[in-house]
Amino acid sequence: MIERIDGLPTNIINGYKVRPGKPLPFGVSHVPNGLNFSAYTSAGTGCTLVLFSRGVLEPFAEIEFPKSYRIGDVFCMIVFDLDYEDLEYGYRIDGPFQPEAGHRFNKECILMDPYTKLVSGRDVWGEEPDWNAQIYHYRSRVSFDDFDWEDDSPLEFPPEDLLIYEAHVRGFTKSASAKVAHPGTYAGLAEKIPYLKRLGINAIELMPIFEFDEFENSRIHPETGEKLYNYWGYSTLGFFAPKAAYAATGRHGMQVDELKQLVKNLHSNGIEVILDVVFNHTAEGNENGPTLSFKGLDNKTYYMLTPEGYYFNFSGTGNTLNCNNPIVRSLVLDCLRYWASEYHIDGFRFDLASILGRDPLGYPLSNPPLLESLAFDPILSACKLIAEAWDAGGLYQVGSFPAFGRWSEWNGKYRDCLRKFLKGDAAQVGELAQRVQGSPDLYQSSGRTPATSINFITCHDGFTLADLTSFNEKHNSSNGEDNRDGGNDNHSWNCGAEGWTDNAGILALRQKQMMNAFALLLTSRGVPMFVMGDEFGRSQQGNNNAYCLDSSLSWVDWLQLKANHQLFDFVTSLIAFRKSHPCLRVNKFDTTITTIGLPSSSFHGTSAWSPDWSQESRQLAWMFCLDGIGTGNSDVDLVYVIANMAPSTSWFSCPELPNGLRWCVAFNTGDPAGPVLKHEATVDKHGLLVGERSVIIMTA
């Protein structure tokens, strides 16, 4: 075999064999006999590669890039004969420290490579570093991207068929009640896959798994004095690196393989993986925050800065990533391509996505290049792109997020309307009709479809479903901010007592309200999503912002599954029902008349075909109909939902059915015998009684 010439060194610097490198790809990559290091800085005047042995405080070598090793704004160098498994590296960048001009170069700082695929330094959750001795906390490492995927590939389910389950990797199995071998890890989550299959969901949305520092929070618990964490992880350090401390093998640096194995296992069990990604800001904070990577590499490129050189704060966390700068745009695109191709990720949910549509001065763009690039990227073409279509700077784009025919949205309006309707607020029925259809008022005129709407009533942010029915007010004192943090517009109702109670009537009502919520969510068109543990009534004791609580308060308590098996059975039955009724998953706004003479969607009140749209109405029924399905005894699929959120029982007549069809009740949250009917009960042709604050679901 002929040996490549570029596998041989051309220079020796400080005793290390090197040669000029290649500018692309950025980061570190394997080349014959060595590693290629490539770092971008437009205003930096010099770059030094700093090399450490794994876990050793002091570097074993520093190699300054010769001037001739710079191509454009990229320093690139191949270093030979490094033990890349034991290697940790960083950069020192020389340049001006002129904050007013946007420059914050500091050669004293050792910087993490923004393209690093592996980060060490926080390998085991909660294991404190030596804060005084450590000169380089978050260390870039070299990964092996040679995982054997066999025949795995992303599942590419049609978006309208998704049932999304939002989960926190650590919180899902950290409790001893999870009874897994590796609590709080990717491996622990993998052990719970049989549970997820039993539940019936087909997509799991993981809260941030990009490397972050759980020690970023400086607050302490006001009662226990314990250190609070950044538990949720919405503060990215390394966009290309999986959180090491979420891996049972993180201490051995094998988080890449462990996470890939989890994805592979989920796929083989018919579950897509969606990542919650945070591109709106980084962990470096504002001018008072640390210099970890971007600030020291090219502050002016990576961050939105005021004309005076301060940080714009559209994220509410101190800084804002300059997403529509071409360099940053490339970084985001490279990052997502990497996760889609190397980790087989099926989709991404973008935290505070509206920031991604702002220009470098913060003004919303009408045609944001980053969002367009993501929408039309060939590698991401089958990935789900989901926007949290607002930001902390006041931009609210639910219904108007620049979609390019690709983006769907967390529908905050669905959440608010459903919550208000469930608690019996007036003036909700008209909007509810829009929401359960997939929000045509928001999406139809722009040619978007019901699956654009990610329907949810609860998510990680805010009350769990159990707390939504148990608390009128947030109870966040444990967060160390005197209950100031967290939203106040929860639209929650405690059903008669704040928090814990032994009042059987109140407890029964809360249980019914949780079932009502699931009944409406899982019979709405659009894509349903709920947060881990809601299916058996997980509580956070009224805390609606548990971002900092790494404790039993925020971990899933699996004993609750047994305690509230009725709710779990109800949810699994409803999910199975949704899967077997395609009329609930229609992905077009359609009011045409089907072949049996009924419209695709229609609304009703206590009298069929006569919905009460008045301000005082708290009752609505709707019928979804789909023909041409060509399965079973009938060519037609019909579902009728009656939602009576009034505090009194009412008689509802039902639409007449043709062709000898008859309505049968499948679920009744107001049935004292249980909400899931073992044998579907035929409905009297004149109608039926619907209990107060109850939902009935029928099919024909």
Partner: protein, 115 residues
């Protein structure tokens, strides 16, 4: 960092006994030994009870070896794998590719005709 390596034969198997940590610093010793001392088209067993740790590089060498033996249609067995390493292999997906035995005495004989 050293790795002790020895080859023996048992019931039609080539048995390589490895003692020491297999990581990026020692893995080349193992590779060189295998290339020199082992016939890749005959059943191979690696005695690992003396291996307290196997890094990512070590696991990858094992998997490469598995692919090589598989391509020749011969068996590769791991003997005495420590539970910590087995656990790492399970959660990272390596374990499924290997046949494990407690010790060399558990190895099925390759001298006898298969039934």
């Amino acid at each position: 960092m050293t790795l002790d390596l020895a080859r023996s034969s048992l019931n039609g198997w080539q048995v390589v006994t490895i003692t020491g940590q297999i990581d990026s610093k020692t893995v080349s010793l193992l590779r060189d030994f295998l290339a020199k001392e082992v016939k890749i088209d005959e059943p191979l067993a690696l005695e690992l009870s003396g291996v307290p740790f196997m890094s990512s590089a070590g696991l990858r060498t094992m998997l490469t070896l598995e692919r090589q033996t598989k391509s020749h249609g011969v068996d590769l067995a791991l003997l005495g794998l420590r539970s910590e390493i087995a656990d790492t292999m399970k959660v990272t997906g390596f374990y499924q590719y290997f046949t494990n035995y407690e010790s060399a005495s558990s190895l099925p004989s390759k001298s006898e005709p298969s039934t």
